[in-house]
């Protein structure tokens, strides 16, 4: 600790006004405040302040993602090895240990994570320096989310471009963390989806090597969307596989259980909004239930609770929809926002066989409408106050 303090103290003068690296002060400040909570004291208003700050809030979101990350790394390895074995005759199949699977996933995930953070933070620092404000913590979460929702085989340069697009167009042009309209992580994914659809959709991208080695990498949603088998006839997977997450998919999204643990951490600490989470699930469940009665295709007839377990629904509800910057800000608005995300996610799923993963578009769509929802919620409060005068 002393060591860090000494290093910081030696280099600090260069970054201060009049120093050689004066313009780089935000970068220095980011490192200093990362190591040490600053010694700033209150000077107006309340003399004491809550111990929480944005760094801790963001750190807890990352902590809440850890179960998904750890499970996801194992599952990436596991799905790959299942795929490889499926090409071999039964007596030549190899059994892989837990560690084999985990380490395989780890080495696949690590480059994605490094690129996501390195590129994203570089852009953030560049903007902070050019605008002379401190580096905000928002990217700590976005940078972790992005590799969790990308296909594991996505080329690193594509990932880098989508990160740049997300941070610059999705966030910085609006003024940085706290000002953006669209969720940055989803903006990255949406960019990739529309710019390089071959790498983002179809049955070849969600398991490592599926595109080249010839085994199937199809997800549950993908199979249901082809409308050839119903959920009940799927032999490969059942409800408990979907709950635990032994299914193909992006790294973060497969295990409902791991997401649930994350959700509990977010809700217990008070970092995530229970209203958004709960009502997204409620909205999704009710909509799926309605389509069960219609049943025009196999996705419509998939049981409502299964709809919540498969694809990115749960991950989106817990980690994406709850992004406070892009969500509605009023408590009533959060309920409406959640319900509509759930509704649209399922609607997009069942009506759009080309892209059965509706969650991303549902959240982005509602991001755009969030201010409108708040506008009407706040408007009703204003009306109530006006009516009070008349009474």
């Amino acid at each position: 600790m002393k060591l860090f303090k000494n290093i910081l103290d030696t280099v600090k003068p260069h970054f201060l006004k009049g120093g050689k690296l004066e313009k780089m002060y935000p970068a220095y400040d980011a490192f200093e405040t990362f190591l040490f909570v600053p010694d700033h004291t209150t000077h107006s208003g309340s003399h004491i302040r809550d111990s929480i700050d944005l760094k801790r809030t963001m750190a807890f979101v990352v902590i809440a993602m850890l179960p998904c990350i750890l499970f996801g790394m194992w599952n990436i390895g596991s799905q790959y090895h299942i795929g490889v074995n499926s090409l071999l005759p039964e007596n030549e199949q190899i059994s892989y240990s837990f560690l084999d699977n985990f380490m395989f996933g780890f080495w696949k995930f690590l480059p994605l994570l490094v690129v996501s953070y390195a590129v994203g933070l570089a852009v953030e620092f560049a903007f902070a320096i050019s605008r002379g404000h401190s580096v905000n913590e928002g990217y700590l979460v976005s940078g972790m989310l992005i590799p969790l929702i990308m296909p594991i085989d996505v080329p690193l340069w594509m990932l880098a471009i989508s990160v740049v697009f997300a941070v610059v167009i999705g966030k910085e042009v609006f003024g940085g963390t706290g000002m953006n309209i669209l969720n940055p992580a989803l903006t990255a994914r949406a960019f990739l989806f529309f710019a390089y659809p071959k790498h983002m959709s179809g049955d070849k991208v969600w398991v490592h090597g599926a595109g080249t080695d010839g085994y199937s990498g199809e997800t549950i949603l993908g199979q249901l969307a082809t409308n050839t088998t119903s959920w009940f006839d799927l032999e490969k997977w059942n409800t408990s596989d979907a709950f635990y997450g032994f299914i193909p998919g992006s790294l973060g999204e497969t295990s409902f259980l791991a997401i649930l643990v994350g959700a509990i951490i977010l809700l217990f600490t008070g970092v995530g909004s229970w209203r958004i989470m709960l009502y997204t699930f409620v909205g999704g469940y009710l909509t799926a239930l309605l389509f069960n009665f219609w049943g025009a295709n196999y996705l419509m007839s998939t049981p409502a609770h299964v709809q919540l377990l498969i694809g990115g629904f749960a991950f989106g509800a817990v980690f994406m929809a709850t992004d406070p910057v892009t969500a509605t800000q009023t408590n009533k608005g959060k309920i409406i926002y959640g319900l509509l995300i759930g509704f649209f996610a399922i609607v997009i799923r069942v009506f759009n066989p080309a892209y059965p993963e509706g969650m991303m578009l549902a959240i982005l769509l509602m991001n755009v409408f969030a201010p409108l929802i708040d506008h009407y919620v706040v408007g009703s409060n204003i009306k109530r106050r006006l009516n009070r005068v008349k009474v």
Partner: protein
């Protein structure tokens, strides 16, 4: 017609250093004879001096008055001599310093029975004697305009802010005086005078037996004791409405004026806070020097002395003086220290309204909180925080944002007239983005007031 109101939203901050319910006395030898009246205690006051350095004054002699309404006078709390007049930037008057005599002599004001006085006569007497500044108004949270007729008057009998004075204890035995004061106060409005008591505890009979007023009970965490919250739930302010309010000890001062004919602003203050060795109650005179109470009574370290409670008070120096309206003196440690990786450590000893620190394991723990910001200011990211500690039917975040962009129409429709900075103190406390919420609201109120004047 008394009402009982339960508030769910809010936050009790359990701080260590509550004042013991004991009166401590100040040794006469320790007692400073330096008293200060600060025009800055009265928001937006433009003072005009009525004395100069060297003048002899009595308790009740006018020191300065309000330039915009010369009837509103501010008087000396003690008799003695005007020692200094301290000015700040642009010759703004910051302090009128008095050197007190050992025995106080008082200006003589007329005593009269309440039945013999009309509303105008009561107001007149209060204006002349310098007691009027105790009557404050909403909107804007400033000294009331004596020509207004308020639709109601509010007295909050209790404080819910952390460590603040317990009026049940402070006013013990003053039942008659309190009732007498109330008798005069209730005549100031055509409407109802509301006395709001704490339903979390057994309130003192002094309040519960009060006559001529409507007694309402408030239950729930801080800010249940804030008069703004109480007004909102009982008789909310709309555009154009005026409500007056004062504090229980101010009622006592009113009673003394009419029974003894004196401007007697002796009051009881609670000295509290984690840096005080023996937190106690003291009998002092408004404007007296806090050094009297702090001598040999502070723990080592760099201390911050606050006139008022820890959420809304003003920072004063160690030999500063008690503010006009303040009945609590709080001392906490300055938090000008860096903390290594403090944003990720478990933090068993750290208080937070969230459960991101492991201190949630000990729900009854008493906390020592210093003046550190615990982070840097950021743009708004987290939502829903303010709403949890803001027990009014007002959208706090939206109102603050409207205030930031100075959209007066929007501020009005979102309820700016109903709030004061102190109502936002908890929002400021819990704010993850470390916004200076009270300052924003104060500037907003000033802006709206200027626009309406």
């Amino acid at each position: 017609m008394s009402k009982e109101i339960r508030l769910k939203k809010g936050l009790n901050i359990n701080l260590s250093g509550v004042a013991d319910k004991i009166f401590a006395s100040i040794k006469p030898t320790d007692k400073s004879s330096r008293y200060v009246v600060k025009p800055t205690d009265f928001h937006s006051l433009n003072p005009k001096l009525a004395v100069k350095v060297g003048d002899k004054v009595k308790a009740g002699t006018v020191l300065f008055f309000d330039k915009s309404n010369e009837k509103i006078k501010f008087c000396s709390p003690v008799s003695g001599e005007v020692l200094e007049i301290n000015r700040g930037e642009k010759r703004r008057i910051l302090e009128v310093v008095l050197l007190a005599d050992s025995d106080i002599s008082y200006e003589k004001f007329q005593t009269s029975n309440v039945e013999d006085l009309s509303r105008e006569q009561i107001i007149d007497a209060m204006l002349k004697s310098g007691l009027w500044p105790f009557i404050r108004q909403r909107p804007y949270s400033i000294i009331a305009n004596p020509t207004d007729i308020p639709k109601s008057i509010f007295i909050s009998a209790f404080n819910s802010a952390p460590l603040s004075i317990d009026n049940d204890f402070a006013l013990y035995g003053m039942d008659d005086l309190f009732q007498k004061g109330l008798d005069y106060i209730v005549k100031l409005t055509d409407g109802v005078t509301h006395l709001n008591v704490d339903a979390n505890t057994n309130s003192s009979q002094l309040f519960l037996n009060a006559k001529g007023v409507q007694i309402n009970k408030f239950m729930g965490p801080h800010p249940a004791g804030n008069v703004g919250v109480q007004i909102h739930h009982i008789d909310p302010i709309n555009r154009g409405d005026v409500v007056w309010y004062l504090e229980p000890q101010d009622v006592i001062a009113v009673a003394r004026l009419f029974t003894d004919g004196k401007y007697d602003v002796s009051r009881i203050v609670a000295l509290c806070g984690s840096q005080v060795i023996k937190p106690r109650y003291y009998r002092v005179i408004s404007g007296s020097c806090v050094a009297d109470l702090l001598n040999d009574n502070l723990k080592d370290g760099e201390n911050r002395v606050i006139s008022g409670d820890v959420l809304t008070g003003k920072k004063i120096s160690k030999d500063g003086n008690i503010g006009f309206y303040d009945t609590t003196i709080t001392v906490v440690e300055e938090g000008n220290k860096q903390e290594f990786l403090g944003w990720i450590l478990p933090g068993n000893h750290k208080f937070s309204a969230s459960r991101t620190f492991f201190s949630w394991l000990q729900p009854n723990k008493k906390y020592i909180i210093d003046s550190n910001m615990h982070g840097e200011e950021r743009a708004y990211v987290v939502t829903g925080q303010y709403e949890k500690v803001f027990p009014m039917d007002i959208y706090p975040l939206q109102l603050i944002k409207a205030t930031m962009i100075e959209d007066i129409e929007l501020m009005e429709s979102l309820g700016i007239y109903e709030v004061a900075p102190e109502d936002f103190a908890l929002c400021e406390f819990v704010c993850t983005s470390k916004m200076e919420v009270q300052k924003i609201i104060r500037e907003g109120l000033d802006l709206v007031r200027k626009e309406n004047s």
